[in-house]
Assembly symmetry: D3
Homo-oligomer: 67 residues x 6
Amino acid sequence: MPYVNIKITKEGATDKQKKMLMEGVTQLLVDVLNKNPSTTIVVIDEVDTDNWGIGGVPVTELRKISK
Amino acid sequence: MPYVNIKITKEGATDKQKKMLMEGVTQLLVDVLNKNPSTTIVVIDEVDTDNWGIGGVPVTELRKISK
Amino acid sequence: MPYVNIKITKEGATDKQKKMLMEGVTQLLVDVLNKNPSTTIVVIDEVDTDNWGIGGVPVTELRKISK
Amino acid sequence: MPYVNIKITKEGATDKQKKMLMEGVTQLLVDVLNKNPSTTIVVIDEVDTDNWGIGGVPVTELRKISK
Amino acid sequence: MPYVNIKITKEGATDKQKKMLMEGVTQLLVDVLNKNPSTTIVVIDEVDTDNWGIGGVPVTELRKISK
Amino acid sequence: MPYVNIKITKEGATDKQKKMLMEGVTQLLVDVLNKNPSTTIVVIDEVDTDNWGIGGVPVTELRKISK
């Protein structure tokens, strides 16, 4: 019954990619800790780049700078 | 001043139902731990079913399977 | 499969009281949203009063003031 | 590498204000704990007022009452 | 710069197992979303079995029942 | 009524420093968003360095490498 929360910026992750994350994390918990996959919850939060700051700078700006 | 976070999938919970959850949890904390209701915070996160996985499968797919 | 996180200060909640919180929240989600209790997770975080601040003041100090 | 999560109600915080929060928290962690700003993450969650309850009452209603 | 939080019950996960979880999740985010591993944070919360409830029952009790 | 969660590694932050973080964040929310300090909650989580990974490596190991 592990609960895993993955926070990423909202930058176009597809449903397929999100499913791959869910599958991968769930399998990892089976392999490493022998957890029951059927009660393993994975929740993905996609955060606007205006709402995610690194070093005090919103990712929206960091993306512009790095272009 | 308890802080309670309720995460549910985004599947049509009405404002009235969300208020019932807030009232119920707040009253529960009064009854069980004698907490001050006026400083009890309840935050409800409604998560897209594409972003909530159980057993590595997004709830969106689980819903289709169970139909 | 709701996930509920209850954060309270670490001030002596007994195992019995914590179980009452788990039972109460789980039943509330059954009653209000018809959620499946067997996949409802409730996690209680008990936080040191030195690590919980209100109005910028640690609860440890607030408790001393209110004595 | 601190991780800071700021939860506020969704009531019109501008991008500029959110950046000020990111800058301020990051600088605070430098000043107080000498943390490395470049690996300090600040995530701001803006929560609908229907989903934030105080004393069992959604903020949406509290706002109406206080008008 | 993803932030991943893994919540498991405190039931003896070794440092080596916890490192395997960190490595696995970080690599998964590289493989699936091409994320920069050097800014990927993984935090593992180990929760007392008295503080983790499923179906309203603390895991401590569930473990006794299942023995 | 903002809720702020600061996660740092458990590396000796003093009560005084934690109070400074609480005061600073609370004042910041007053200055930037005119929030009511008396209902602003700041919770600090101090995480074991074995449980905090960056780039897949526990901070415990990173600290040894950087010595």
